[in-house]
């Protein structure tokens, strides 16, 4: 998988912690100057968490999201100790 896309998705997971519901994914990425992976563009008009959850049902995106999630959650849980 592309390391770049995985990193971009991980950043989107991070910024969704700040605002994941009340603005669109496109707006969130633009606010934080984050490049939205082209594979996620069709979901850009949805709130970020909803966009990611629907993208997760796409077989191709599922693996990308899963790998980015593993890194993200490892760091998040590590932050507790």
């Amino acid at each position: 998988m592309s390391l770049k896309i995985k990193e971009e998705i991980k950043v989107i997971l991070e910024i969704s912690e700040l605002e994941g519901e009340d603005i669109t994914l496109r707006r969130l990425c633009s606010m934080f100057n984050v490049e939205m992976p082209s594979k996620l563009r069709e979901y850009g008009d949805l709130p970020p968490r909803i966009a990611l959850a629907i993208a997760y049902l796409d077989r191709e995106l599922r693996e990308l999201l899963k790998e980015a999630s593993q890194d993200f959650i490892r760091e998040k849980i590590h932050g507790f100790s």
């Binding site: 997971l13 009340d22 990611l52 997760y56 999201l65 999630s69 849980i77 507790f80």
Partner: protein, 260 residues
Amino acid sequence: MREYPRMLKRGDKFNPLDVAKQTESIVCKGDARKYTAFYVTGVYGGIATGYVVGCCFRCYFCWTDFSRDFPEAYGEYYSAEEACENIVKAARKWKVNKARISGGEPTLCRKHLLRLLELIEQRNEIKLFILETNGLLFGADESYVKDVISFSKVYVRVSLKAGDPEALEARTGASKEFFELPFKAIKSLLDNNAKFHVAAMTDPRIMPPDERKRLLERLAEIDVFLAANLEEETCDPYEGTLVRMQFYGLDPLAFFGRRK
């Protein structure tokens, strides 16, 4: 009928499936359900909302109005057709294309919800229907999950209240034996390829860090993406919250940092 639970006091506990039935006997009539209002709010970037009466949990931090605790005293019955019309009318007025029912637990009154979703499915004005649930009734009956997600516009948000059984009982009044049901709901949604994400009341003033960590680990065991996409909720000082906290024995001023 057992005494109906209202605002939570420390040590209260009940069978939430019984409370769901008790509540349904008050807020459902045929395919009609009690609502107090229809409006549009800014969450989700703008969403038409039908405010329903009645819940099967009694969270002390709950933001909703007092119709949760006194469902007999609030709301009017609306058929699914009337509710749909009111939701669509609000959506059209404010030019939004998302809808939900909120305030109470939307999965109470199954007949009403399924008919409402059927009607929403036929309306071009609504593109997405966000079903915010505590997951209890979905966990108790997988066929309910399958019925609901058969509608293409449905998106589910399961809101967890605790990371362990004792905390669930202390915060919501729902007996700890029912702790697994919302997780069963999550597994059913996952197994059935539903569009959904999980939320949790992880506000550190309510959920200690070790419990939050266990909750994240539990979700990651089910599916790592669910844990990564977790919506972590915070508690805000709504009127209902302030009164419920006092009733529970917490000082809301201290809780919200206004008194030492």
